[in-house]
């Protein structure tokens, strides 16, 4: 074999190995959607939880062949921080040209919203709950009630039924936590309760000083506005520090590992009211496939992210019927025209500020499981 032939064989061999090792590329026919979740860092637990909802919806829709082409998800890691999220969003819209992005976390969603507006890409948030997300961009939709809706349901309940008046608010000093503080400041005077705000850093893990302040304030209740594993540390240190006041929180605390903690027993929190017992075909399909694939019961977060893909599919179907291309602008138009969507748990529609309106359920943790206390419409 001459040296040139030998080199050519080597090159062909190397290219074959490379081609076989490369992942399957996205077909030009696929509907690509971007997903920006925390896939590393302290909030990875949310990324793992949320992606189950997205992946299941994509699997079910692709198997059903309801759409002419397959849906393909392109995941990017935000680490639940704005800066990596901006890099991820730029990559998704400038390199991958996706028309639709699924996001989570208030700070992340707030950071990518201007890019969505500028590049006309539809963003569906199913996890961030800061009140600041309402009306932030015409291209931003929240298929989760924002925390102001949750607190507006919780505060009247705990003040009138449980007679809790002095509420220490331990909140993360970021867009989400500041949003929570704003809602407490606005609502407490009207309801005759007093909020005692205590801000914490998103990366803090030692809360001895905060516990001392809460004990000194002699609060009836402590509202925890944090997220991820930090909530577990706060719960433990509050109880270890001898705080026996009623603990309160919002939907972000609804993680199985957190609710099983001894310190979480008796905790009262809010979640959106999703009727998973509904016998409509979408809900039945979701329940059956979720249990079959993940061997567990779904959380409301997984419902939200499943629904985010269902909403995208409904808009695509409309565009296909009208023979229009799937662009962010057309998806927005389709979403406005359809108005009411059939999703898991019934139907859903968006308010003019881009946020769903849903009933809120008040839950109490008993033996590690959330038990319903009341539904506020």
């Amino acid at each position: 074999m001459t040296s040139s032939k030998w080199l050519r064989s080597l090159l062909v061999g190397a290219l074959s190995v490379l081609a076989s090792a490369m992942p399957l590329t996205v077909s030009a026919q696929d509907y690509s959607i971007g997903v920006i979740f925390p896939l590393s860092g302290p909030n990875v637990v949310y990324g793992e939880t949320f992606s189950k909802g997205v992946d299941l919806a994509v699997k079910n829709l692709n198997e059903s062949e309801e759409l002419p082409h397959r849906i393909k998800t392109l995941y990017e890691d935000s680490r639940a921080l704005p800066q990596p999220a901006i890099i991820a969003m730029n990559k998704l819209v400038n390199v991958e040209n996706v028309p639709f992005v699924i996001s989570a976390f208030s700070g992340v969603t707030k950071a990518i919203a201007p890019i969505a507006t500028r590049r006309k890409v539809l963003v569906m948030n199913g996890g961030g709950v800061s009140p600041e997300l309402a009306g932030l961009s015409p291209y931003l939709f929240n298929d989760i009630p924002l925390v102001n809706d949750e607190i507006s349901a919780l505060l009247p309940y705990v003040t009138s039924k449980l007679h809790l008046r002095r509420i220490s608010l331990i909140y993360v000093n970021d867009p989400f936590g500041q949003g929570v503080l704003g809602v407490f400041s606005a609502q407490c005077p009207k309801l005759g309760c007093e909020a005692i705000p205590i801000s914490i850093s998103p990366t803090a893990s030692d809360f001895q000083a905060e516990v001392a302040k809460i004990r000194s304030a002699k609060s009836d209740a402590v509202f925890i506005a944090s997220y991820g594993q930090q909530q577990n540390v706060i719960l433990k240190q509050l109880r270890d520090g001898g705080i026996n006041a009623q603990l309160l929180s919002y939907s972000g605390i609804d993680l199985p590992d957190t609710l099983r903690l001894p310190a979480a027993q008796g905790l009262i929190f809010t979640v959106e009211n999703v009727d998973l017992g509904s016998d409509d075909p979408i809900t039945k399909k979701f329940n059956e496939s979720f249990r079959a694939v993940y061997h567990s019961e779904p959380s409301f977060y997984q419902v939200n992210y499943y629904n985010a893909v269902v909403l995208f599919a409904a808009c695509v179907k409309r565009l296909v019927a009208k023979n229009q291309p799937v662009t962010g602008e057309n998806l927005l138009q389709a979403l406005r025209e359809i108005k009411t969507f059939n999703v898991v748990g019934g139907t859903v529609s968006f308010q003019p500020n881009g946020t769903v309106r849903q009933a809120i359920q008040i839950m109490k943790v008993v033996d590690g499981q959330p038990q319903p206390l009341a539904v506020v419409k």
Binding site: P42, N173, I198, S199, S205, Q208, A212, G228, G242
Partner: protein, 290 residues
């Protein structure tokens, strides 16, 4: 006033842990002149070893403590033998050694993230639940931190003042050239300094798991605190480093008496800045001790 005293109590327990970290760092730095930034990594590795041994492997606490000490000791000695000693032999600049130490810290932190993830972990124990002492509350773990710190620092003082090896370590800190000239093996004593300094991390790491939980990122904060305590106390003084740790712990807690709680870390480092500006020699001037 009750709140102020309570915050001071919390600060004392936290400061006791900081003191252990700071004295370990100051001992290594004082005797070897190596800026051992990876001291924080020793803390993280020790804490995660203890957590994994107790929580995941279900080992008895005494065995977990031994394992934790072995890991801290092994890591400290490995740093000295395989990273710093070859660099010192090739007469690398201090900055190069610092960068290597920083690299070690990042590598160890990432190794922990790879194995345990980057989330927070805590351990449940009755000993972490606060005891009510009149209007004040302190957990047995917090009391343990104060007692352990005082005992270990006392033992270290005895070791340095009353043993031949301790005297050699003090001589290394004062004049390494003279130590070499009288025929003592400075690498042997550097190894001893790393061994003792790394072992001092163990009680701080174990008690922190119960007091505040742990995350891979906690090592960076711990290293900063150790460095800041050494500066606040007075570079070259072990007493100073211990005192610096307690001052920072108390300042971090008491400082938020009238300020938002999230200012705690900022206040601690504000204290450091004040010392650097107005008393750069620290609380205990090394020359005053001589």
């Amino acid at each position: 006033m009750e709140l102020l005293i309570q915050l001071a109590l919390n600060g004392l327990a936290l400061g006791a842990l900081y003191a252990l970290m700071a004295v370990g760092f100051a001992l290594i730095f004082g005797t070897t002149k190596i800026f051992h930034f990876a001291h924080g990594a020793t803390f993280v590795l020790a804490a995660y070893t203890y957590y994994a041994a107790v929580s995941e492997a279900g080992l008895p606490v005494a065995f977990a403590l031994g394992l934790c000490a072995a890991v801290a000791l092994g890591f400290g000695l490995a740093c000295e033998r395989f990273v710093y000693r070859p660099m010192l032999r090739s007469e690398s600049a201090s900055l190069t050694i610092f960068v290597a130490s920083f690299g070690l810290f990042i590598a160890a932190e990432n190794a922990v993230i790879l194995v345990f993830g980057s989330s927070y972990h805590t351990l449940e124990s009755r000993l972490s639940r606060a005891l009510q002492l009149g209007p004040f509350a302190i957990s047995p773990v917090g009391l343990c931190a104060i007692v352990a710190s005082a005992t270990i620092l006392g033992a270290l003082e005895f070791f340095l003042a009353r043993t031949y090896t301790g005297a050699a370590l003090r001589a290394m800190a004062d004049n390494p050239e003279l130590v070499r000239m009288i025929g003592l093996n400075r690498y042997y004593y550097a190894k001893v300094a790393f061994a003792v300094g790394s072992l001092m991390v163990v009680p701080a790491a174990v008690l922190s798991v119960y007091l505040s939980g742990l995350s891979p990122q906690s090592g960076a904060w711990i290293t900063l605190v150790a460095i800041a305590s050494t500066i606040v106390g007075g570079v070259g003084s072990l007493y100073g480093a211990a005192l610096g740790g307690i001052v920072l712990g108390v300042a971090q807690n008491v400082g938020i008496w009238r300020l938002p709680a999230s200012w705690g870390e900022g206040i601690a480092f504000g204290v450091l800045l004040l010392f650097l500006l107005f008393r750069p020699t620290g609380l205990i001037h090394v020359f005053e001790r001589r």
